[in-house]
Amino acid sequence: MMRNRTAAGGGTRKDNLWAFLQCAHSLLFLCQDGQQESCSAVLQMASDLQIAVRTVTVEELKNELGSAKIGTRLYVCGDYQFVRGLENVLFSFGITNEELWSDVTGATVHPVLCAGCYHRNDPVAGSYIHCEMCGRMLEVSNHYSKKLDAVMGYIVLPEQLVFKSEEPQPSRTTPEGR
């Protein structure tokens, strides 16, 4: 599955990507090793629009930023950790959302913020966790904060759970209550 940040504003992914590239005079292209196949559509579209594409490494990208001209756009692609790490660097250089398109490949698993104590729990796959800090049971939601880079872990009450066996396992996919 591929997700991209810019498409969240509406329109199809293709439309939004087209709009993003149309504003570009040149494109700095950075793709994590092994993910090149995911980027073929982007490269094709850039070619159709006759945009100069320069493939760069992470180090080259950092160096390029200082001398990049207005109209330069950036494209990055890779797994979640790769893209998030790179975005943090790029935003610290003053790159804006309008100048960057990032595609995340594979599963996106975010840290989980405990609603009760604000502890940021390590990313986990699954619907429920116990907070590492306060021990509260949390429902892992899809409500994501970019600022905190975490999804909300809502407090689950014992009353909301139905125990199916000796192991406490929630029987519902979504506890009632929000």
Partner: protein
């Protein structure tokens, strides 16, 4: 003499989310009711105990916050001159709050002249929660807020989020495209033309501070609602939300005044009882779950039905 007030939120027998904003005809966006001292006291106590939870700001919003402070204090002194006075002496502003016996001196745009951030200060004078949305990149972003009485959400978590992301948890609001339409509507709100809407839910227990952070304190009461206690334990919770453009900063101020009324008082009004009964009977399963009513909706419906039978 402070007034009693309870804006009944249901205007039809069926409830679904819609853009129910309407012009605020009176231009009174701050309501001071007879619960003022109690509720402002509670807000200040929560702010002291849980500052991270109740107040957040991006520092670059300070000018916009000053604009809000200016707006709120002028509202108070113009609408309730018997309780609040605002006057200027040279560079100094003097705000008098006779309900709390306070007098504060400050200078406009001088952050050092106040004991806290301007939006925080404004919020400490009113029962309303105050949320400031800035507008850029064709979207609205929550960049400052004082929130003491949330209806099961978290300012700490939602701080810094665009309007669309804030509403991810509301069933259907994003997928149906309604959130995007409302955001577009809000972005066109003009200065001097405030808007208002009512939002509602039920609360098990009389508690204004129903934050996501404290769900394990107030949530369990949902499971303690019985045929015997429903009339006193369950409250209709209404949020009167006003929205206005701050012309200088172009930000939007969103005020939320929360009201609670126990069901046994609601049932004194036959029309209200009937309407709430019908809405609860027809509420979609997703909304029943989202509003946290699954555990006790049936008890409430049965109680309202009984009251209607008694009174007809």
């Amino acid at each position: 003499m402070l007034s009693s007030r309870f804006p009944f939120p249901l205007s039809a027998d069926i409830f679904q989310y819609s853009n129910n904003l309407r012009p605020l005809d009176t231009n009174v966006s701050i309501q001071v009711t007879h619960e003022y001292t109690e509720e402002v006291g509670l807000k200040r106590s929560l702010l002291k105990q849980h500052p991270e939870r109740c107040f957040r700001e991006e520092i670059h919003t300070r000018d916009a916050q000053w604009e809000v402070l200016n707006y709120v204090l002028h509202q108070l002194s113009q609408v309730y001159p018997e309780h609040f006075r605002l006057r200027q002496e040279g560079d100094n502003w003097i705000f008098e709050n006779t309900l709390l016996g306070e007098e504060v001196h400050f200078r406009d745009l001088d952050n050092d002249s106040l004991s806290c951030a301007p939006l925080d200060f404004a919020g400490r004078q009113v029962q309303e929660d105050l949320i400031l949305l800035t507008q850029y990149d064709d979207k609205l972003v929550l960049e400052a807020g004082q929130l003491c009485f949330p209806g099961n959400w978290s300012l700490y978590f939602d701080f810094g989020m665009p309007f669309m992301d804030i509403h991810t948890p509301v069933p259907g609001l994003i997928d149906d495209g309604l959130a995007a339409k409302i955001e577009r509507f809000l972005m066109r709100v003009e200065s001097g033309k405030p808007w208002t809407r009512l939002n509602w839910s039920l609360n098990a227990g009389r508690r204004l501070d129903t934050s996501a952070e404290t769900f394990d304190e107030w949530g369990p009461y949902r499971y303690r609602v019985t045929e015997d206690n429903v009339g006193h334990l369950v409250h209709l919770r209404v949020e009167e939300q006003n929205l206005m453009r701050m012309p200088r900063s172009n930000s939007l101020l969103f005020t939320i005044h929360t009201y609670l009324m126990p069901l046994h008082e609601i049932t004194q009004n036959q029309t209200w009882t009937n309407r709430l009964y019908r809405v609860l009977c027809t509420l979609s399963p997703k909304l029943v779950e989202y509003k946290g009513l699954s555990a006790y909706r049936d008890v409430v419906v049965e109680y309202l039905a009984k009251e209607l039978r008694v009174n007809t």
